[in-house]
């Protein structure tokens, strides 16, 4: 218990005795976490926009006359790529036609017997899932025709894949840069206390006792940097939402408070964890080297 008390006291000593370095670490952490958060928000919005478009994509499969939709429905339901499927009976299709024709609905009676076949309305999870699904449907003998926005689907699938790859790379890079920058800043802080740590090791301090204040310091600076980054992101993002709404009303961007709150909590946790991990690695490396007898 006393060790924890000393560790917290030493953490605050560290923070305030080397306040310039602490401030530098805090601002560095805030900057890199802001970039990380910005890249993540960009990636999330790209994914969101694409998924909105993808969600609106519907594949329509028409059965041959006299065929029911049972066989096709079974195949579609068993596919993991499918989000939802609905079978449309010839009667329902006729009703829809009537509704579409409005005051010219009487014209339908001229058709005599209902000529419309059974059909399926299928929604897939992602645009890239459409082409393999269509291929599977086309081989069924009961299927007459499958309608879908072919070129659009292919382009959307390409954009979706590219955006996932680009945002993944951006996230990995920013995460790597954040980790390296925080790790090195904390390493400088540790080297500024090199003499003190060496004396502590010589008089019998355990590496845990030595590491604890640095680890708490790293965690506090990481968390503090994350809070600053969250404030920055929150104000930037709020302004961006306002600007986009007033100029590009058709663009869908994430403004769900719950999703954004979860994202900010995640960023805070990422900051604290990165700070903790980087400082632990830096101090562990240093103490291991110092403890090694020559």
């Amino acid at each position: 218990m006393a060790s924890f008390r000393y560790a917290f006291r030493d953490t605050f000593r560290l923070l305030f005795r080397h306040w310039g370095l602490s401030l530098l670490t805090l601002l560095t952490a805030a900057s890199v976490l802001y970039i990380l958060g910005f890249a993540s928000l960009f990636a999330m919005n790209m994914r969101y926009m694409i998924s909105r478009i993808e969600g609106a994509l519907v594949v329509q499969a028409y059965m041959k006359r006299g065929e029911t939709a049972e066989q096709a429905l079974e195949l579609v339901r068993s596919s993991p790529l499918v989000l939802s499927v609905r079978a449309i009976s010839p009667e329902e299709a006729l009703e829809r036609l009537r509704a579409k024709l409005g005051n010219q609905a009487q014209a339908v009676t001229l058709l005599g017997e209902n000529p419309l076949p059974w059909s399926l309305e299928i929604q897939v999870q992602r645009a890239e899932h459409i082409t393999p699904l269509v291929r599977d449907l086309m081989v069924l003998p009961s299927i007459e025709e499958v309608l879908y926005a072919g070129k659009l689907v292919e382009r959307l699938a390409t954009i979706s894949r590219a955006s996932s790859a680009v945002s993944g790379i951006i996230l990995m890079l920013t995460l790597l840069i954040s980790t390296l920058v925080i790790f090195n800043t904390i390493r400088i802080a540790i080297y500024s206390r090199k003499e003190e740590i060496e004396v502590m090791l010589l008089i019998g301090a355990t590496s845990t006792y030595i590491s604890l204040p640095f680890v708490i310091q790293g965690m506090l600076l990481g968390a503090g940097g994350a809070i600053l980054a969250i404030f920055g992101l929150w104000s930037t993002y709020s302004s961006a939402i306002e600007a986009i709404r007033s100029t590009l009303a058709f663009v869908d961007i994430i403004d769900n408070r719950r999703i954004l709150a979860q994202f900010y909590v995640f960023l805070f946790a990422a900051g604290a964890t990165t700070g903790w991990m980087c400082s632990w690695l830096a101090v562990h490396r240093f103490t291991s080297q110092s403890m090694r007898s020559r």
Binding site: V199, M200, G204
Partner: protein, 231 residues
């Protein structure tokens, strides 16, 4: 706590032999001077005992611990039993005398009240009570040496190693420090003092081990003499 060195050789890269084939036994509660010219291997020997260095050949046992087999997780607990006064003091300049002494005890997880009382006790013992809130740069060389001694004795170690504790000090201060070391030894602690201060060695006669070019040259023990490998 007794110390046994058997066949100790220490070679530094690339090929500097600091100690060669040293056999030495120090009984528990014994006081020993380690003498020899600069570069004779005194500091290396102390650093081997404090496990800062590992021997190139040979075995060192302190109490029931074989230092070569000591795991890194056991090292801090071993070092708590060995108080070391470093040649360059190794005091922390940002901390006061009190804090320099207290932080040894804090590192052991001792509760704050006990840390305070024990630190004050040893600071008083070394005669620095009135200077306990000063920082090392505000102290004289002799006072800094006494802080280093206070820090090394704070956790009542079983073995006390002092590397040139009177180096660059005036005679009066050197004598004060010697008396302090003898009082530590009087409480049953094994004390090894590396020095080349012949006056003190003669004035406060104790067992004497002389090193020369990394070899044991003389071991004067209770009237028996071991010179250049022969009794």
């Amino acid at each position: 706590m007794d110390i046994r060195l058997s066949g100790i050789t220490k070679v530094f890269e690339p090929d500097i032999v600091a100690l060669e084939d040293i056999y030495l036994s120090v009984d528990s509660g014994e006081f020993l001077y380690l003498v020899g010219t600069t570069g004779s291997g005194k500091t290396t020997l102390l650093r081997l005992i404090s496990r800062e260095y590992l021997p190139t050949r040979g075995q060192i046992t302190v109490g029931d611990r074989n230092l070569r087999k000591l795991r890194s997780s056991e090292l801090p607990y071993y070092r708590r039993e060995v108080g070391v006064v470093f040649q360059d003091f190794k005091l922390l300049p940002n901390l006061t005398v009190f804090e320099n002494v207290a932080f040894v005890l804090e590192a052991m997880g001792i509760p704050p009240k006990l840390v305070e009382s024990r630190s004050n006790e040893v600071i008083d013992q070394v005669g620095l009570w009135r200077r306990r809130f000063l920082k090392p740069p505000q102290l004289s060389g002799g006072e800094q040496q006494r802080v280093a001694i206070a820090r090394a004795m704070a956790n009542s170690p079983a073995v006390f190693l002092a590397d040139e504790p009177t180096g660059n000090l005036d005679l009066r201060t050197s004598e004060e420090i010697m008396r302090l070391l003898l009082s530590i030894n009087a409480s049953g602690t094994t004390v090894i003092v590396a020095t080349h201060d012949q006056y003190l060695v003669d004035a406060y006669r104790q067992r004497l081990v002389e090193l020369h070019n990394g070899r044991l040259k003389r071991d004067e023990r209770r009237g028996r003499y071991f010179v250049d490998g022969e009794l």
